[in-house]
Amino acid sequence: MKIDLSNDDGYLIAAAIRGPDFKGEADGVCYQAFSAVKAVFTARFRHICGVTYFGAEIRQGTDLTTFNEGVDAVEGQFCDIVTSFAEAGSMAEREAMWHVLSHLERALQALPADEYAPYRREIIALVNLIDAVSRMLDSFQANKDDAVAWMKAAYANLADVIHFTDDNES
């Protein structure tokens, strides 16, 4: 995919190619949450855009929790990890997460509809999940149960859709 950075869509797509700037200990909740977001969203976005760089983590297959080499990218469940982050992450960490998610959402929406028609359902499911995670980060204290349930539903929907997409790809 060639990107024209002189227009808004090109800029938004390029801005989502790099994963989040992780911080903290590798077994800490913050690191794990950013790692999970990278696996589920960034790595898949790269695949959709045609990235093949050997050092980049890319998610090509149907398994939401593994990268291209079959290496586990998310130890444990995405929803549990993100919920723990919403509970334990600092305000600054949650703002950094929101920043990353907003870039990913706008980038997915900026992909040309015709060119990416085979991924249309999956892109919608990814955007829905981003919305659900963002909403949970915003309203975790006030509305924890509903926010978590909404995110789990969005994640289950994505898991269903991605199988459909990859069937089409093959």
Binding site: K2, L5, Y11, A14, I17, F22, K23, R46, G50, H103
Partner: protein, 151 residues
């Protein structure tokens, strides 16, 4: 202007640096990270043709009037190993290595590459890192003022 095709290695590495650092933290940290973004990201965006309103873009080699060298050096020298900043700088470093291939931007890209390298050295407590970082920024400032003089 540099064109980006993310299916190539160079394209991927350049696209990876179009987003700035994921800035966070207190007011002081925020301002320093904003300077780091203006130093590297904003300049690379300009070289790659970004024109989006709202995106920080640096169109000249010169540093801006509010650039605070002391705050930058103090932050880099005093901060404990910062994985987030290190990740961002590693992408900056790789992107600048590619940009040095472009004759038009070659010299300035090398100077920025030097600054990024010295910042990484400082975060890893390398010998004489503070002095090296100051020198590398001095070189960049001299280059910018020489460029303005000759224009």
């Amino acid at each position: 202007m540099i064109e980006i095709d993310v299916t190539t290695n160079d394209g991927y590495l350049l696209a990876s640096v179009i987003r700035g650092p994921d800035i966070e933290g207190s007011n002081c940290e925020y301002l320093v990270c904003a300077d780091i973004k203006m130093l590297f990201t904003a300049r690379i965006r300009h070289w790659c043709g970004v024109e989006r309103s709202g995106a920080d873009i640096r169109k000249t080699a010169g540093l801006w009037t509010t650039f605070n060298l002391e705050a930058l050096v103090e932050y880099v020298m005093s901060t404990e190993y910062n994985q987030g900043l290190n990740h961002y700088l590693s992408h900056v470093y790789q992107a600048l290595q590619i940009i040095t291939k472009y004759g038009e931007y070659h010299r300035e890209a090398i100077l920025l590459l030097e600054v990024a390298g010295k910042m990484c050295d400082a975060m890893h407590n390398a010998y004489n890192a503070e002095q090296s970082l100051r020198w590398s920024i001095d070189m960049l400032v001299q280059f910018a003022s020489a460029k303005e003089t000759t224009c």
